[in-house]
């Protein structure tokens, strides 16, 4: 299945900003992170289609997943 993966802030370093990637159907957020070699403890906020999600969340074809390290500002 095709998943749009977005990376932000320090997670982009040595990787990419936004790519459409192919994953086996039923893949979870955790499995996607592992394929990207991103340690789970470096990710603090996960969005799937603009809503907060957790590591166990299962993805569906054409989903957008966004990963953020801990950030704040305002």
């Amino acid at each position: 299945m095709e998943i749009k993966v977005k990376l932000f802030a320090a997670l982009r370093k040595g990787r990419f900003d936004c790519e459409i990637r192919d994953y086996a159907s039923g893949a979870t957020v955790s499995q996607i992170l592992s394929k990207l070699n991103i340690p789970e403890n470096k990710v603090s906020i996960i969005f799937i289609n603009g809503r907060h999600a957790d590591l166990n969340h299962e993805l569906y074809n054409n989903d957008t997943v966004a990963f953020f390290p801990p950030i704040g500002g305002g």
């Binding site: 932000f8 802030a9 603090s44 906020i45 390290p69 704040g72």
Partner: protein, 452 residues
């Protein structure tokens, strides 16, 4: 201390004023000043503070405080600490110990120790956009298509490429260092690193995706002494009124120049989004108590809507920054799209913020103290050892409540009622994409925020 009359300073913008002050008093000074907007007593007028480079780039932006200074006919306060000694704590040993724990706490928290120093406040742009809560085109849409051109990641990269600075302290002694220096395309200083709120207000909210234009507007606002949030919101209202097209950066820049010159149009715009909307007959004025909302849509982040509605100064994000818990998962997590837990969240944040604000600490320390109990305790220990007090965490909460109560009493005496603790009606009736949500918190619930 000397008080002097100097009519030669009349209608000088902030940057020219500070150059003149440096010429008269040397460059070891710090200044607190108003630009032309404050002299004209505009309600969007700010008070400028010089930064480490003695530039008038840091502002008490909100609430129209520049107009108050203007009404007292105070143009500039010049400070020179030559020959002065540092104040010493009542208990120097305890203070030193508490300070070490406090500083370590700021350095080890990923927000205050990594994200903010590397990218500045504009790091928020992508995440708020991703959450569908980044107001574009005068709060018409919850995400902006030009987002990658104005994000904190793009801004930091551009600053470094042009010989500016992406990690910089806005005042002496800061350990977070979320400020920066923004140079123009020729490598010359244009303005300090535009903040998240400014990039949104003059950017997405006006349909503008060009960082150089946004930085120019940041400079003009600082120079005339204007609140960037209010001015961005005002220009978006003016665009909705048809005074300029959304996305037209040149027209937006010209509108700010009208404010600086004090033309009749400029005086309308300089009095903010509420006044501008009334004058031009625009219903969609994103204001509470006459003050424009900042860069978070209260429909997609319900908790911040509670703060906008009930804060004593009008739509203000800092008074109870629900974004931390609704979006950033700092201090726990409350789903931004649901109503559950938002009243309590906003209330607790407003009480804590009133207390932190009265210490004079930067509010960004809240990211570390909300997550790390030992850092919160270190803040209390700092106050106690410096002033010889014996405050506890409960006393700090009581202090916050007392401050809010005093502010509410002031507002009540000035004629404010529960009817003013509301969002504009269209936030309850018009939904915002991509989540297609309206503001769902009932009036009776809003009336419970200050009932503890």
């Amino acid at each position: 201390m000397k008080i002097e009359v100097d009519n030669s300073l009349k209608m000088l913008p902030n940057y020219d004023l500070i150059e003149k002050m440096k010429g008269e008093y040397g460059d070891k000074i710090a200044c607190i000043s108003i630009g032309t907007a404050g002299e004209m007593k505009m309600s969007a007028a700010s008070i400028a503070f010089t930064d480490m480079e003695v530039r008038p780039a840091r502002h008490a932006g909100r609430g129209g405080v520049g107009a108050v200074m203007g009404s007292k006919r105070v143009k500039v306060i010049v400070l020179d600490d030559t020959g002065m000694k540092m104040r010493s704590p009542e208990d120097p040993e305890k203070f030193k110990e508490a300070n070490k724990i406090f500083v370590d706490g700021l350095k080890k928290h990923p927000v205050t120790g990594e994200g903010l120093p590397a990218y500045g406040t504009n790091i928020l742009t992508n995440i708020i956009n991703e959450a569908g809560a980044y107001p574009a085109y005068n709060f018409k849409e919850g995400a902006f298509k030009g987002i990658s051109k104005i994000s904190g990641e793009t801004q930091a990269e551009l600053e470094v490429k042009r010989g500016g600075v992406a990690t910089h302290a806005c005042h002496r002694g800061c350990v977070i260092r979320c400020s920066g220096i923004y140079n123009d395309k020729d490598g010359n200083y244009l303005t300090k690193q535009p903040e998240y709120e400014t990039v949104w207000a003059h950017g997405a909210n006006c349909g503008i995706d060009d960082l150089d234009s946004i930085a120019m507007m940041d400079f003009l606002d600082d120079n005339y002494g204007l609140d960037t949030i209010e001015m961005g919101a005002t220009i978006a209202v003016a665009m909705e009124a048809g005074l300029a097209k959304f996305g037209d950066a040149e027209a937006a820049i010209n509108l700010i120049k009208e404010v600086g010159k004090g033309t009749p149009l400029g005086r309308i715009l300089g009095n903010g989004a509420a006044v501008t909307a009334k004058v031009f007959g625009v219903e969609r004025a994103p204001v509470v108590k006459g003050q424009a909302m900042p860069a978070y849509d209260p429909r997609a982040i319900q908790g911040i809507g509670v703060t906008y509605a009930t804060s004593t100064m009008g739509a203000d994000h800092t008074a109870g920054y629900a974004i931390a818990t609704n979006i950033l998962k700092v201090g726990g997590y409350v789903d931004p799209l649901k109503t559950e837990g938002q009243i309590e969240l906003s209330r607790n944040l407003q009480i804590a913020t009133a207390a932190i604000d009265s210490t004079g600490m930067c509010l960004f320390i809240a990211f570390a103290i909300l997550d790390q109990p030992e850092t919160f305790q270190a803040l209390i220990d700092l106050l106690n050892s410096f002033y010889g007090l014996s405050l506890t965490a409960d006393d700090v909460t009581e202090l916050g409540k007392k401050i809010i109560k005093m502010e509410r009493n002031f507002n009540a005496a000035a004629g404010f009622t529960a009817q003013h603790d509301r969002l504009p009606r269209y936030f309850y009736t018009e939904s915002i994409a991509p989540h297609n949500v309206t503001f769902q918190i009932k009036d009776e619930e809003l009336d419970q925020v200050m009932n503890w």
